[in-house]
């Protein structure tokens, strides 16, 4: 018995140490990126486009990447949403048999796990097929493939939580599936749907591998769908690879912007779901 107690004490200490290490790693990442980024941060970084000689340390900022990232992820969010919402609704029992729903869930989980570089490569295949080069459109296609499973799966989890009795009350009034879905299920699941969309947005805006060869990179803001577009993760990536310390500092500043955007999106998603869930019947 004594041995058991000693063993428990040892393992408990190990567990707490492990948990602390994980938390410390996260803390270290945030603190270091914020500290290094804040040093190089200026208002120019956010509002200015790269000027001549920017990559040699001269003036300008990464406004092209900020706007580019928002365009890419915004566009991809709209496409994903247009597909994710019908899929998530269709996975209800009224529409398709449970077996098929289960297979679909599995397919979505596999898609969720697929490396983003694979979506980048597949996006490239589509682009070659359609005959377009690295462009805003190409990036949006690749990103929406990446975001679709994340969004759908998160929405579906929420929609599945809507109590069947609630739907049955609506059906007993003689409504169709569509009417019940829109006026009961969607209203109940709305906070979750918003959270799911934000979650996917946060994933999408931080992803670099899928847009590396589909979106390209440019110093200006694209005026049309077939023009290449800059993005924040790639701005970080390209700037850190340059040998000049002045440019590397800008990689830290760009990373700080990216981190803040991602954290903000996560925070808003949480607040949204907390705020809306007041109107929900449990």
């Amino acid at each position: 018995m004594r041995r058991q107690i000693i063993e428990e004490k040892i393992f408990k200490a190990l567990m707490i140490a492990s948990l602390a290490t994980v938390f410390l790693a996260l803390l270290a990442i945030i603190v270091i990126i914020v500290a290094r980024g804040a040093k190089a941060m200026s208002i120019d970084m956010i509002i200015k486009l790269p000027e001549g000689g920017y990559y040699l340390g001269k003036g300008g900022g990464v406004a092209n990447a900020i706007v580019g990232s928002l365009l890419l992820t915004g566009g991809a969010s709209i496409i994903s949403l247009a597909l994710a919402l019908p899929i998530a609704f269709a996975l209800q029992r009224e529409y398709i048999p449970r077996r098929i729903a289960r297979v679909t869930r599995l397919a979505l989980d596999v898609l969720w796990g697929t490396p983003s570089i694979v979506y980048g490569a597949f996006g490239f295949v589509i682009m070659v097929y359609l005959g377009i080069g690295a462009s805003l459109l190409g990036g949006i296609i690749a990103l929406s493939l990446l975001m679709l499973p994340i969004m759908t799966r998160a929405m579906e989890e929420i929609i599945r939580m809507v109590p069947m009795q609630l739907k049955e009350i609506s059906y007993s009034l003689g409504t169709t599936r569509l009417e019940t879905t829109f006026s009961v299920v969607l209203r109940q699941a709305l906070p979750g749907v918003c959270t799911a969309a934000m979650l996917a947005f946060g994933r999408g805006i931080g992803d670099a591998a899928s847009i590396l060869f589909t979106a390209g990179y440019t110093d200006s803001i694209p005026q049309a769908l077939d023009e290449p577009v800059a993005s924040l993760p790639l701005a970080v990536f390209f700037q850190i690879l340059t040998p000049l310390p002045a440019v590397q500092d800008r990689a830290y500043a760009s990373a700080l912007i990216l981190l803040l955007v991602v954290l903000l999106v996560n925070l808003v998603a949480r607040l949204l779901s907390a705020r809306f869930s007041r109107n929900i019947i449990k």
């Binding site: 058991q4 107690i5 063993e7 428990e8 393992f11 408990k12 190990l14 567990m15 707490i16 492990s18 948990l19 290490t21 994980v22 790693a25 996260l26 270290a28 990442i29 270091i32 990126i33 019908p86 899929i87 609704f89 269709a90 996975l91 599995l106 397919a107 989980d109 898609l111 796990g113 697929t114 490396p115 570089i117 694979v118 490569a121 597949f122 295949v125 589509i126 070659v128 679709l148 499973p149 759908t152 169709t176 599936r177 009417e179 979650l199 946060g202 994933r203 805006i205 931080g206 992803d207 670099a208 590396l212 993760p233 970080v236 990536f237 990373a255 990216l258 981190l259 991602v262 996560n266």
Partner: protein, 294 residues
């Protein structure tokens, strides 16, 4: 009434079409990549491509062996570093931690999972690479810090949220009665966890590890920023390596100008898809079974 029914039927069909699309997407991606990879598969056998170490695109030689070894070794290294720690942390959170700690840990883990990989890579360059370099030099190994070990460490940090959150969920799905029956025998909590809880959730914990493995296997940007990208088989953890995803990401620029190059890279992407997809398939089927059982 007729119009309402027609609307319902019409939307019903389009929603089913969307579901069909989601199911076909996996195959669509695989077929698209296969279509592009066909030229290289026609010129050399798959076995030769996977086992040859000669990577000279200009001479038409595409041996994937060093890249496969690089990926597998970096992933295994990250598993060695991450698995014990993550399992211990997850057991603590699921079994010992007070509710408030568990809930705040959920937030922290979600946050960690949401941080973009390029930021993990940057952290690697600022912190991990110099430390690894010093350790290597202290051990008498010439190295730049951009090594297999740096890649393994960064991957270990990145897979932690996956392994911890899935393990926690699996452990919490073990019925309380099982735990209480064991505790009623007068053994310690840890003994109950070891003999009852972990035994109950063995498959689930294994799936969590497999999911972590799959995540590390396909990770691109963060690894490629710290691992050195030298196409040679590493002899120690202080040698650089060159994982498969990094190969694809690094060479998209040249791939259109060299014959068969794009085909080879698409084959690499296909291999990644099949390996990672396969792991996910197995892990999720096991996890679904667990959910259904309890």
């Amino acid at each position: 009434m007729k119009r309402r029914m027609a609307k319902d039927t019409l939307t019903g069909w389009s929603m089913k079409a969307a579901v069909l699309f989601a199911n076909l997407l996996v195959f669509l991606v695989a077929l698209g990549l296969l279509y592009k990879a066909r030229p290289i598969l026609a010129s050399k056998s798959l076995g030769h491509l996977l086992t040859s170490s000669s990577w000279h695109p200009l001479k038409g030689e595409f041996g994937f062996y060093p890249f496969i070894v690089g990926t597998v070794e970096a992933t295994l290294l990250s598993m060695v570093l991450a698995v014990p720690m993550c399992l211990l942390a997850a057991i603590y959170l699921a079994e010992y931690a007070p509710r408030r700690l568990r809930e705040s840990a959920h937030i922290v883990i979600d946050l960690m999972a949401g941080i973009p990989s390029v930021i993990y890579g940057l952290f690697g360059i600022i912190v991990v690479v110099p430390i690894v370099r010093e350790i290597g030099l202290a051990l008498g190994k010439q190295n730049t810090g951009y090594t297999l070990l740096s890649g393994g460490v960064i991957l270990a940090i990145m897979v932690a949220p996956v392994i911890i959150s899935v393990t926690m969920e699996v452990l919490r799905s073990v019925p309380a009665e099982a735990r209480e029956t064991a505790l009623a025998l007068g053994i310690t909590r840890w003994a109950a966890i070891k003999h009852v809880v972990l035994r109950h959730s063995m498959h689930g914990v294994l799936s969590a590890i497999v999911l972590g493995f799959a995540r590390a296997f396909g990770e691109t940007i963060a690894v490629m920023m710290v691992i050195g990208n030298v196409a040679r088989i590493p002899r120690s953890v202080f040698d650089p390596a060159y994982p498969l995803p990094a190969l694809i990401a690094n060479n998209y620029g040249e791939m259109m100008s060299v014959p068969l190059y794009d085909s080879a890279l698409m084959l690499a992407a296909l291999i990644l898809l099949l390996v990672v997809g396969g792991f996910h398939l197995v892990a999720h089927v096991i996890l679904y079974r667990i959910e259904k059982r309890w």
